[in-house]
Symmetry: D2
């Protein structure tokens, strides 16, 4: 995989990941999401709803000496996350098969938490995260449905500091001899911290 | 078709049109595009690349006593444009089967011109429009490819006044129990006038 | 005002309205908002938070024989709404000075309701609208703050049908010899109906 | 500056930079722009139109053992770039006061080039970059005006491979008791490589 040379910085191109039918955080969204987490070496990170594992892989590379727990309920997502860790030679990710919030209960307390796909349990998941997040910790939620956006905003009303960014991306794609600007669905990236 | 009652104003819902595999100007883009043309009763209108005919149908309803020439090279597009005129009881649209710019040569001079899909002949089409557009006329281009955008902007450099708007739309769509905000491709709506 | 000739269709250019420091619904957003209301002649329309009156003026022109109640709590907004009605020769708008929901109580039941600026009373305003909206009526909310979006979505959970569109516009603006694409703030346009 | 601790990864918050009236690449745009460059240690980087120096500072931190040439014609931009290098303890940036393309002529050949503000000389600047870019090099252009977009796309027609992304960001901002989603102007991020 010579085309991976030098890709130690965030922003691994989407096409380098092994993908199934599982939704994937696009590279442009991923680099913003990762930057909002303010990752540091040695940190414990939860990636709730890891999907293909693209966030887990990049977060693991950005936290040497740390550990990323990739929580994913679909067997295909678990398999893809593992395969992508192997593909990018990442050895500090532990795939946790199971549904959140139940699967979160036995994990070590995190410094950073990413929340992506949640299967509709957002409120319960955020309650568990609130209990476990380390002092000074940060939570970054990627929301693409109205339900996730409103659940997250309703939950974060009291006692959290937040920064909310909506990102809309379109990317050139050949269509005959022309390049169509193809839109990706907009993502709300909600960073939260300061809860105590 | 009782659900059409009262829909004499622009913004006919997309789902009410008969559609094939032909691309369609979405209703939110369509109402902006139509408003930029400043249509008036009795006008001659060209709709170059009419597709399903959604712009032609609405323009025809907004120009009583006028005439809309729907120029379309694909047989399916011609058929859909005709069927949608029937569906919405519009009788002032003439479907012109053929490729622009050739198909434009024999048409009456227009007060207003819409340009949508152009099959890559943008420059020649705009040259023909420049020759034929009536004094005080307006041209409205919907561009979704980089090639159309740059051709249009390069062409409109000299002697035209322009207003350029980019519109990005996303619309709620049920995905399980959640509503995904699904993005449509962004459209540049380029209005031009004042050439003489 | 010869430049108004023929502007009987929606999409009056922003620059033609008399404006103060009051926020204004931009013309591209306005035409979409109006189209979602499916206005018809003779209807009773509420415009809650009329601001400069741009929605009221256009809605009034689109509902001949009907009546638009422009509810606005700021004296400057009331004055601008009145001045713009005069400017566009609209005589079926009544400016209602006062805060919603109190100011809504004594108004005739509406067929259509627009909600724009609400000063934070969204929930109480929507409760009043739910009580008064005529059977078969439609409600169209323009939301630019997270608070308005979440209040509206929380309120509309039960028993309403909704269509939610987010619109992002950028418009060319001269900056030296170049044209900057200047962004307007994104607007959620929430159409709701079917409550009974 | 204890709040800088740990910020060795890209995405330094905008508010940490010293800013004047000079336009600045917002952090969300910046992390995408940087990721598209595929920076590696030891590289020579040009930042043409460095503005506040935010791209130069981050690129310098991402290319240890390399060198970033921050080319900027405004005295205030030069001063801000220097001050921000000091603020973030970056010592591998050289500020080059002068206008491109003239100021580029005497610089070492680059592995990577960022092009931001260009003062309208885009074509001449790109010609110079084409001559000097090292084999295997990458060029990343941030374009916010129609003139820059069309110049760049016209120039890159022949012999380059490109990836073009448009990014629209809005960010929450307190407005009274509500949070407005405030839009930033959309940016085209054009990555080009493979020219030989």
């Amino acid at each position: 995989m010579s085309d991976l040379t030098g890709l130690s910085l965030p922003g691994i191109p989407d096409r380098l990941f092994i993908r199934g039918d599982v939704p994937m955080t696009k590279e442009e969204i991923r680099v913003i999401t990762l930057s909002k987490a303010r990752l540091e070496p040695g940190m414990v990170v939860w990636d709730v709803g890891s999907g293909t594992g693209s966030i887990s892989v990049e977060a693991a590379r950005m936290t040497p000496g740390g550990k990323v727990y990739a929580v994913e309920r679909s067997p295909e997502g678990c398999r893809l996350t593992s395969e992508n860790c192997t593909r990018f030679s990442v050895d500090n990710v532990e795939v946790v098969a199971g549904s959140a919030p139940e699967a979160l209960v036995r994990l070590p307390r995190p410094h950073r938490v990413f929340v992506g796909g949640t299967g509709g349990n957002m409120k319960a998941i955020l309650e568990e995260i609130k209990v476990k997040l380390m002092p000074g910790g940060r939570l970054v939620i990627n929301a693409v449905t109205l339900e996730t956006i409103t659940s997250a905003l309703n939950f974060l009303k009291d006692g959290w500091e937040t920064e909310i960014v909506q990102v809309s991306i379109s990317k050139s794609q050949l269509m005959g001899a022309s390049r169509l600007m193809k839109a990706y669905n907009p993502v709300f990236i909600i960073a939260a911290w300061g809860w105590s």
